[in-house]
């Protein structure tokens, strides 16, 4: 039988590499899936797009996904995207030159820009502060999109930003700021940074398509793990995320994690509970489609 058309929403991060590869290598087509990839500028709008059927599957960050579920949206996870890894130095805390910020303690009372309030980098950064024994409530967070970070640091509007490559390296190269901490290395390995969610109703109606989608990503993950395919993977990323070639060549690609376990999701639930971001109790087991 023919599967329904899937519109898949992604944002401009390399954690979607497994989806790009699956599309480019024809793994979706092989399983009779018609997947259209659609770029979404703001990660936090993905759950709403799923809810209103603009998308069938989308890739929110775990924090966005959990907040949506907490708010009453009936979503489940179909698969997973990129994973955390100690080797990733693609994002970190970048402080303004001359600000004197060196560690978590120096952040108290400072103004720090994050790309999205309540989004992945914000949540993980606060977790890091908390882990280091700093009260994150005493830090003044403001929202600012990546490309503005350099100008904001230079103009003194913020004291530091939580940024990611390639913006981060641009800032350091121009001398406007320096990396105070690759704080992400504190995160335990192998937790999804992006999860692929769908409406429960859709998954119940199309169990085959959901499974086929996950299997495509598993195959793509295997493809990515072979170093000889690196060029092809980068080409796939470059096709869907418009990056200058020199940036594309240097970018770190997070390892793929196509299937999500209860433990992985539970990690994020714990992190968010710590930060008072969830109002209801969340049953992790019900959120992962088998």
């Amino acid at each position: 039988q023919s599967n329904p058309k899937i519109v898949f929403g992604y944002t401009a991060v390399s954690d979607f590499a497994s989806v790009f590869v699956a599309a480019e290598e024809g793994y979706f087509k092989k399983r009779n899936l018609d997947v259209e990839l659609k770029f979404i500028p703001l990660n936090s709008t993905i759950p709403a797009a799923l809810q209103s059927d603009s998308l069938q599957i989308g890739g929110p960050t775990p924090s966005v996904f959990l907040q949506a579920v907490d708010g009453g949206l009936d979503l489940v996870l179909v698969a997973g995207g990129g994973l955390t890894s100690k080797t990733i130095t693609g994002f970190g805390l970048v402080a303004r030159a001359g600000s004197g910020i060196k560690g978590p303690q120096d952040c108290v009372g400072k103004k720090i820009g994050v790309p999205g309030l309540g989004a992945f980098l914000h949540v993980t950064f606060r977790a890091w502060l908390k882990e280091s024994g700093v009260d994150y409530r005493k830090v003044n967070f403001v929202e600012a999109s990546f490309p503005q970070h350099a100008d904001l640091l230079r103009g003194g509007s913020v004291d530091a930003v939580v940024s990611a490559d390639p913006f981060m390296s641009r800032i350091t190269e121009s001398g406007a700021g320096y990396v105070a901490s690759y704080y992400s290395t504190f995160l335990p390995e192998n937790n999804q940074t992006i999860v692929h969610a769908a409406k429960r109703e859709w998954v119940l109606k199309n169990p085959g398509a959901a499974r086929a989608f996950r299997e495509s990503l598993v195959e793509a993950a295997a493809f990515m793990q072979q170093p000889k395919n690196d060029a092809k993977v980068r080409a796939a990323i470059g096709k869907y995320i418009k990056l200058p070639p020199e940036v594309l060549a240097k970018i770190q690609i997070s390892p793929p994690g196509a299937t999500v376990s209860e433990k992985q999701l539970g990690y994020w639930v714990g992190l968010m509970k710590d930060q008072d971001m969830l109002k209801t109790s969340i049953d992790v087991a019900k959120l992962i489609a088998k």
């Binding site: 401009a12 659609k38 770029f39 979404i40 500028p41 703001l42 709008t45 709403a48 797009a49 809810q51 209103s52 059927d53 603009s54 998308l55 999109s145 990546f146 490309p147 503005q148 970070h149 350099a150 100008d151 230079r154 390639p166 913006f167 641009r170 800032i171 190269e173 121009s174 001398g175 406007a176 995320i241 418009k242 990056l243 200058p244």
Partner: protein
């Protein structure tokens, strides 16, 4: 004599040229310092040519204009209809006044998150917000236009024994035509601004989105090109409306 002519012709361009020149200098300096978000106008012009040639410019412009027009149509039809009712019936106007005064000032942009949730991306959410934003000014302006129809004219229609239909088409509509046009001009401006704002804030389509995308993929030149282009489109649409208004006014003898 010809020199004066030349000066008169050049005059309007002096300030824009100064502004663009100053910005060029400032942006070049900023770019030299490593800014990711600023580009000089010369680079923007090149980026603009690129977008115009590969067709993305026209597609996004078409989407924004189309959605704004459709949303305006929706908001205007509802607003004009309700405005006529409230303008002609004092009782209806009094009953509705409080509700209207409470609902009208809700900023349309505050509904973007709500429309997102209800309609997702695409034409529908943008339509809904544009329609909401244009509905109120049209309602209020049409209502006051109807209320300001010269009472003597309504009396003339009574003395001549005009039927309700004749009264509507021969007295009321022509009488408010000029003000209706003013309202529509305002509506067009509002529709365009709101459409672009919705695209910037949420909807991944159209000119506003193209501008945000350009910004996010480190293409400040393209972003600036879009900003300029949005200004040009707004200017052109406004000029078109003024022209149309003048033609209609002349037809109706308001401007001989």
């Amino acid at each position: 004599m010809t020199e004066r002519r030349l000066l008169r012709w050049l005059r309007p361009w002096v300030f824009p040229a100064l502004l663009v020149g100053a910005f060029e200098w400032y942006a070049r300096r900023a770019a030299a310092l490593g800014s990711d978000a600023l580009a000089p106008p010369s680079a923007a012009a090149r980026a603009f040519m690129g977008a115009a040639l590969d067709g993305s410019l026209w597609q996004a412009t078409g989407f924004t204009l189309g959605t704004a027009a459709l949303g305006l149509l929706l908001g205007a039809v509802l607003g004009i209809a309700l405005g006529l009712v409230l303008g002609l019936s004092r009782r209806a106007a009094q009953l509705g006044s409080l509700s209207i005064e409470v609902l009208r000032p809700v900023p349309s942009v505050a509904l973007i998150p709500l429309a997102m949730l209800t309609f997702g991306f695409g034409v529908r959410m943008e339509l809904a917000i544009v329609a909401f934003a244009t509905f109120w000014p049209l309602l209020v302006l049409v209502q006051s236009a109807v209320q300001q129809i010269e009472p003597r004219l309504l009396e003339v229609s009574r003395v001549l024994g005009l039927s309700a239909r004749e009264r509507a088409f021969k007295i009321v509509l022509p009488a408010i035509a000029a003000r209706l046009f003013v309202a529509l001009r305002l509506g067009v401006a509002v529709a365009l601004v709101v459409a672009v704002t919705v695209e910037i804030a949420a909807n991944p389509n159209g000119m506003g989105y193209a501008m945000m995308i350009a910004q996010q993929s480190f293409d400040p030149a393209l972003m600036l090109a879009w900003l300029g282009w949005i200004g040009v489109v707004g200017f052109a649409v406004n000029a078109g409306m003024v022209l149309l208004q003048r033609v209609v006014a002349r037809r109706m003898g308001v401007l001989p």
